[in-house]
């Protein structure tokens, strides 16, 4: 019996159908199998992307069906890239992105390192630590809003207890200097467990014999940490950073619940601004250009990062 895929498929197929497909090549049958997926991909991803690119060069507004749609070239792109308010949104996003990743990696790795030590109640602590990431961002946003409430919020009272300040003397969500940190704190609380789990997987993938060999060579614990643990966990850490980076670049729900982008526009991340342009102001052409700029930014940064990640893995 032939080993050809088509023959194997034909033998498992009712005779009338088998007769029809027996003449097809392996390549053709492979195309038949992947065609629905490719069609779906084209329909749900590629076509909207191409359509968005096209709209980005127009003044189209989705809520004004009868309005004449004009080709305006790169006007939308020019407007966006020269708008100082949008650069402020970009800065707010960068602040959020950098600090959340920094804290999540730092705390996540530390927790993973501690959890990796064998101790009593290890599993229980792991379960407790991962609880926040199982909650809905809308729920987390709402209850942190209560925690941050200056008059009754637990957070303010805890800070007041340690600093001696009046609990109502500062407003985490209402002060320009504190609001960007308030969203960093909540995102860190929620997503550090995710980074911890990835780091934990990395730590547990390091074979014990490497440490045993290092012990025989009389390497100190600190040296073992920097020459074995960190390099071997690094690809995992970088993966966690990639996931969190992409997620936080498009962060929306949590921040909308917490601050709504305020006070003023202090925590108005690009995704919040984009949503306002697209679905509140209905500047569809403009919002399309905005989305393309964000897409190119994320795609470009992610590609560079993935190349770096692959290099680290190859080492």
């Amino acid at each position: 019996m032939s080993d050809r895929t088509i023959d194997r498929v034909a033998s498992a197929t009712p005779p009338p159908v088998a007769r029809k497909i027996r003449g097809l090549s392996d390549r053709a049958i492979a195309w038949i199998f992947v065609a629905p997926t490719i069609f779906l991909l084209l329909a749900i991803n590629i076509f909207p992307l191409i359509w968005t690119i096209r709209l980005s060069f127009t003044n189209y507004k989705a809520n004004r069906i009868g309005r004449e749609v004009k080709e305006i070239g790169f006007r939308n792109y020019e407007r966006i890239l020269t708008d100082s308010d949008i650069w402020l949104n970009m800065q707010a996003t960068a602040h959020f992105l950098i600090w959340t990743i920094f804290f999540q990696v730092l705390i996540g790795f530390t927790l993973a390192w501690l959890i990796n030590k064998k101790f009593k109640g290890n599993d229980l602590w792991t379960t407790i630590i991962v609880l926040p990431m199982m909650l809905s961002p809308a729920v987390v946003g709402n209850f942190w809003k209560f925690l941050y409430q200056p008059q009754i919020g637990l957070f303010n009272y805890i800070i007041a207890f340690f600093t001696g300040k009046e609990p109502s003397s500062f407003e985490m969500l209402g002060q320009v200097n504190l609001a960007p940190w308030s969203i960093v704190i909540v995102d860190t609380w929620m997503w550090t467990p995710f980074v911890m789990l990835i780091c934990l997987a990395g730590l547990r993938s390091i074979p014990d014999y490497i440490y045993e060999a290092a012990e025989i060579d009389r390497a100190s614990k600190l040296r073992q940490f920097f020459t074995i643990t960190i390099p071997m966990v690094l690809p995992f850490l970088m993966l966690a950073v990639l996931f969190r980076g992409i997620e936080n670049f498009k962060m929306f729900d949590l921040v909308v619940q917490l601050t709504g982008g305020g006070p003023g526009s202090t925590t108005e991340l690009t995704s919040i601004n984009l949503k306002r342009e697209a679905f509140e102001k209905w500047r569809t052409g403009y919002a399309s250009a905005y989305a393309i700029i964000l897409f190119v930014t994320v795609f470009g940064l992610a590609s560079i990062y993935v190349k770096a990640l692959n290099k680290v893995k190859e080492r």
């Binding site: 809520n63 009868g66 308010d85 969500l173 209402g174 305020g262 006070p263 003023g264």
Partner: protein, 439 residues
Amino acid sequence: MSYSKLATVSAIALAATGVASTAQAEDLTLCWAAWDPANALVELSKDFEAQSGHNMNFEFVPWPNFADRMLNELNSGGKLCDLLIGDSQWIGGGAENGHYVKLNDFFDNEGISMDDFAPATVYAYSTWPKGTPNYYALPAMGDANGWFYRKDWFGREDIQAAYKEATGQDLREPQSQKELLQIAQFFQEREIDGKTVYGAAIFTERGSEGITMGATGALYAWGFKYENEPGSYDMEGAVNSAEAVEALEFYKELYQTATPPGYTNSYMGESLDAFKSGQVAMAMNWFAFFPGLYADPATGGDKIDFFVNPPQNIAASTLGGQGISVVSYSDKQDAALEYIKWFAQPDVQAKWWELGGYSAHNSVLQDPGFVASQPFAGDFLEAMDGVQDFWQEPAYAELLLAMQKRVHDYVVADQGTAQEALDKLIEDWTEVFEDEGKL
């Protein structure tokens, strides 16, 4: 007649009756915001159901999501709503984008006259282009932004004496915006009955329309204008006039010196909560909530009184309220128009006011007993005499969100000056009108 013939005739008659009643009875859906007056409308509409045989369904959406939800519905040509009580600023978009049915012919045929309604409400809720006799809605719910205060605190001798000592003046309902600020500052962080209270609950919400509706209360009172000449879109010197700058600075001072802690993103609900929990001496909110506030067992009755937005350079209030429109995508337009015809009747309007809705019908407003009918009725009439509304252009959402950003940036986030905020607002609005081809 034989039994068989009789049976046949009876069957045909029964079937005909059935067909007739099926054709007449419709399931109508009325969309509005989820708030106190909506409950009153449900109660009122029971009479319509009884009289018409139609069945009324209601889709009420909380205010912060109301515009988003309903405008998406209209823009997508949705058939969810047969009748829509849409915000006054939507009238331009509703008319120009073909969302609302033009009602002129219907009004003429049914003898419904716009002269029977308060002129300010007809102008604001029904007409597009503004002030022309092109009607896209029937005034349904008159409303304006007003104020209420703790009458019991204002009446206490110890508090009156303390106020006199602090300011040299008598404590009374504020007669000007500056007096309102002075009173609010007096109450800020004052101990009353062992509890720290605050001056005033004002609108500072960023996401939808809150801070604009609050700040315009001050801006209008200082004489703010959107344009130098109506319809000219010439905003330089009007939007950023010296009076407008002073008014915006005033609103920021009110926010910074006389509101409860954490009051950075507050609108109707937060204002009601702050007042009902005994946190503030005064609060701003829409007249629509006043019946509920007066009926509140803890802070209503003798403990509350109401006043119209105080004047500064002129007497003016921010317009609220809505007109009722027939959605052009509805398949049940005849039944929907029937509802509007029923709703426009003077006796229905009288009951509407009785139940807690704010009728705009002259027969109700000009009734000799109207002012005495509720403790806030006189203030409502006074407010409606001087109401001003935001832009009602089809691009109103863009115009509104620009103002939300500029005012919140300045008032709450403390960024830049009032002059800069208003100058930037003109830039934003100019860009919108240029896109619209109006400049």
